[in-house]
C-alpha cells in the first residue's frame, strides 16, 4: 500500500530524516512512534506531499506521489489532522461531506450517493446523532471522530492520522484505537503517529520507530517495544512490565504507595475518594 524508500529531508542545513525506508501493507494498523523532535510530523508531511523530500521516493499503491496531482492523490490517501478549531461554524455532516471532494464532478455538487457514503461514515464512528451540530461546539474527542469520519468518507485505501489520541481522555483513547482497528480490519491501511508507547503495544499491528539517528526499527510491537528499545529511546526513564501477557510501559522511577490523595472541600461534587 505505502512504500517509503530511502527518504531524506532537511530543513535548511538541519537534516531531519535520513534514509528512511519502510512499507505498510493493506489492512495494517501501523504506529509511527518516537520521542518529540525526531521528525514524525516531517515524515508524515513528506508522505502527503506537503513537503518535498531532498531524495528518496514515496509510493502509494505503486504510484510515485511526485507524479500525482492533488485530486488523484486525495483518492488514494486521506489525512486526519489533530482536532482543530474551524474558522466557520460548519455542521458535522457538512464537514464529513467534504471528504467526498476528490470524488465530486467538476462543479462540486455532492449527490445522493455522496450523502449516503458520508452518512455511513458517521454511523461507523457513532456520531450520526451529531450530524446537525456545529463542529466547533463539539468536545475534542468528538471533533477527532468527525475528522476520522471525513477520512472514511474519502474512501481511500490509506489513512494518515496525526496524534489522533493526543487530545482525548482515557476512555476516548481506547474507543479511538478500537475504531481504528475496526477500520483496518476492513482492508484500509492506517499510519498513525503517536507519542504513547502503551498505545503502540496495546493496539497496533506494527510500528515504525524513529529517533534522532533515523529509523530504529519496523515490526510488530511485541518484538519492537522491548526494554532495550525503551532504554535506547528514553534513557532509563521507562520500564516495560508484563501483566498477563500485556506489555505496559511505566515510569522508570515510580514511587508507589506513598501518594496521599487529599479531598478538597470544593471538590465534593464529582469526585469521591475511597
Amino acid at each position: 500500500m505505502l512504500t517509503v524508500n530511502d527518504l531524506t529531508f532537511s530543513y535548511g542545513r538541519q537534516r531531519v530524516l535520513k534514509n528512511i525506508s519502510f512499507q505498510i501493507r493493506k489492512g495494517e494498523l501501523c504506529a509511527l512512534f518516537g520521542p518529540n523532535g525526531t521528525g514524525k510530523t516531517t515524515l508524515f508531511k513528506c508522505c502527503l506531499k506537503f513537503l518535498v523530500p531532498d531524495s528518496g521516493t514515496v509510493r502509494i499503491n505503486g504510484k510515485d506521489i511526485r507524479r500525482l496531482p492533488p485530486r488523484q492523490m486525495a483518492r488514494l490517501v486521506a489525512y486526519v489532522p489533530q482536532a482543530h478549531h474551524c474558522a466557520f461554524p460548519f455542521t458535522v455532516s457538512q464537514m464529513v461531506l467534504m471528504g467526498r471532494t476528490p470524488h465530486l464532478n467538476r462543479f462540486f455538487t455532492p449527490g445522493a450517493k455522496d450523502r449516503k457514503v458520508a452518512d455511513q461514515a458517521m454511523q461507523t464512528l457513532g456520531i450520526s446523532h451529531l450530524s446537525d451540530t456545529a463542529y466547533n461546539r463539539l468536545s475534542g474527542g468528538q471533533q477527532q471522530m468527525v475528522l476520522i469520519a471525513r477520512a472514511i468518507a474519502q474512501q481511500t485505501g490509506l489513512i494518515f492520522l496525526d496524534e489522533p489520541a493526543a487530545a482525548l481522555d482515557f476512555k476516548n483513547q481506547i474507543t479511538l484505537w478500537q475504531t481504528l482497528q475496526a477500520i483496518a480490519e476492513q482492508g484500509t491501511a492506517i499510519l498513525a503517529c503517536t507519542h504513547d508507547p502503551n498505545h503502540v503495544s496495546w493496539f497496533c499491528h506494527s510500528t515504525v520507530v524513529l529517533d534522532r539517528s533515523g529509523l530504529l526499527a519496523k515490526g510488530p510491537p511485541g518484538q519492537v517495544m522491548t526494554q532495550e528499545m525503551m532504554d535506547r529511546i528514553y534513557g532509563d526513564a521507562c520500564r516495560v512490565w508484563n501483566i498477563n501477557g500485556l506489555k505496559i510501559m511505566v515510569p522508570g522511577t515510580m514511587d508507589t504507595g506513598t501518594t496521599n490523595i487529599v479531598a478538597f472541600p470544593g471538590n465534593r461534587k464529582g469526585i469521591h475518594h475511597k
Binding site: 502527503l48 492523490m73 486525495a74 483518492r75 474558522a87 466557520f88 461554524p89
Partner: protein, 346 residues
C-alpha cells in the same frame, strides 16, 4: 428532522428567484425616492418604455426620462454592482484567509486605489483619468502584497496579510504626501473621493462594473465548495484534493479585480465587505455555495439603501462611506453581541 425542515424553508426563502425579486423591489423603491417626487407607476412606466418601448417613450414627460433613466437608474444599478463586488470579494477573502475579520481591503486594494486617484486628481495633465488610475494602483497594490508574500511555491496566509498591511501603509503614506502637496481644490476632491459616492454614475460605468460583477460572481459561486474546503486550511485542502495555491490565486485575483473595479468607480466604501458576509452567514449557515449569492444580494440592497439615504436625508449629499459606517457599525455590533458565536463559530 427539524433542522432539515428549517433548511428547506431557508432554501425556499433564499432561493435565487426570491433573492432577485427582493433586489428588484428594493431597487424600484430606491429609484422612486428622491427630492423630486415621481409616482411609483411613473417609475415603472419610464423604465419599461426604455426597455421594451411600451408604453411609447413619447408619452413620458422628458423630465422623467432625465431623472429616472439618466440619473437615478444608472446610479442605483452602479450601487448594486458595487455592493455585489465588495460583499462577494469580502466572502472570498474571509474564506481564503480562514478569518472572519478580514475584508476586501486587507491586501491594500483601497490604499492603492486612493493613491492612484490622488495622483490623477493632483496631476490631471499627466494621467488619463481618476478612475483608471485608481483601478491600476489598486490592482498593483494587491499584486505587490502577493509578490512580497511569496516564498518558494507557497504563499502563507499570515505573510500575505502582513505584506498587505505593509503595502497598504506605504500607499497610505504616499496619499498623505499628495494631500500635503495638493492645492485646496484638489485636496477637497481627494477627501471627497476617499469617502466614496456615486455622484458621477453614468451608463458607461454601469456597463463596466456590471460585467466585472457578473463575471466574478459567476466564477466565485461555482467555486463555493472549493472555498469551503479551503477554509479548512491549506494542508487539509490539499489532502482533500484541492490545490490550495492555484485556487487561492484565482479566487484572490477575481476578488481583487472586483474590489478594484468597485473602488475605482465609487471611491472607498468601507464596511460592506466586512459586514455583509457575516449577515449572509447568519441567514444561510457557513456553506459558501449559499453565502456567495445571498451576500451578493444583501450587499446590493445594502448599498442602494445607503445611497438613497445619502442623497435624500439632507438637501446636500452625504458621502456614502459615512452612511455605510454609521448604519453598519451598530448592526455588526448587535450581531456580535447577540449571535457572535455563530459568526466565528465558537
Amino acid at each position: 428532522m427539524n433542522c432539515e425542515n428549517t433548511e428547506k424553508l431557508h432554501k425556499s426563502i433564499l432561493g435565487p428567484g426570491a433573492l432577485i425579486l427582493a433586489l428588484a423591489a428594493a431597487g424600484l423603491c430606491c429609484i422612486q425616492a428622491g427630492t423630486c417626487q415621481v409616482p411609483f407607476s411613473m417609475v415603472v412606466k419610464t423604465i419599461l418604455s426604455h426597455l421594451v418601448h411600451w408604453p411609447d417613450p413619447a408619452t413620458i414627460p422628458a423630465l422623467n426620462h432625465t431623472i429616472i433613466w439618466d440619473i437615478r437608474l444608472p446610479r442605483t444599478l452602479l450601487a448594486m454592482a458595487a455592493g455585489v463586488c465588495l460583499s462577494v470579494s469580502g466572502v472570498v477573502f474571509q474564506g481564503c484567509f480562514r478569518n472572519p475579520l478580514v475584508e476586501p481591503y486587507v491586501l491594500g486594494a483601497s490604499s492603492g486605489a486612493a493613491f492612484g486617484a490622488a495622483l490623477g486628481i493632483v496631476f490631471p495633465i499627466f494621467f488619463l483619468s481618476v478612475q483608471i488610475m485608481a483601478f491600476i494602483f489598486s490592482a498593483l497594490a494587491v499584486a505587490m502584497a502577493y509578490t512580497l508574500a511569496r516564498t518558494g511555491p507557497d504563499t502563507p496566509v499570515v505573510t500575505l496579510v502582513l505584506s498587505g498591511i505593509i503595502t497598504g501603509s506605504v500607499f497610505a503614506a504616499l496619499v498623505g504626501l499628495l494631500k500635503y502637496l495638493a492645492q485646496d481644490t484638489a485636496l477637497r476632491e481627494i477627501v471627497f473621493w476617499l469617502m466614496g459616492g456615486f455622484y458621477y454614475a453614468g451608463w458607461q460605468e454601469v456597463r463596466i462594473l456590471f460585467a466585472v460583477a457578473a463575471l466574478g460572481l459567476g466564477i466565485i459561486r461555482i467555486s463555493g465548495w472549493k472555498l469551503n474546503v479551503l477554509s479548512m486550511g491549506e494542508e487539509e485542502a490539499k489532502s482533500l484534493g484541492i490545490n490550495p495555491g492555484t485556487t487561492q490565486f484565482i479566487l484572490i485575483s477575481l476578488a481583487t479585480l472586483m474590489t478594484a473595479a468597485a473602488v475605482s468607480a465609487t471611491g472607498i466604501i468601507a464596511w460592506v465587505g466586512l459586514m455583509i458576509p457575516h449577515a449572509a452567514r447568519l441567514m444561510t449557515g457557513p456553506d459558501h455555495r449559499r453565502v456567495v449569492p445571498v451576500s451578493a444580494v444583501l450587499g446590493a440592497i445594502y448599498l442602494i439603501v445607503c445611497d438613497t439615504l445619502a442623497r435624500t436625508l439632507t438637501t446636500a449629499e452625504i458621502p456614502i462611506g459615512i452612511i455605510t459606517s454609521l448604519v453598519g457599525a451598530p448592526y455588526l455590533f448587535y450581531l456580535v453581541r447577540t449571535r457572535g458565536g455563530q459568526i466565528v463559530g465558537r
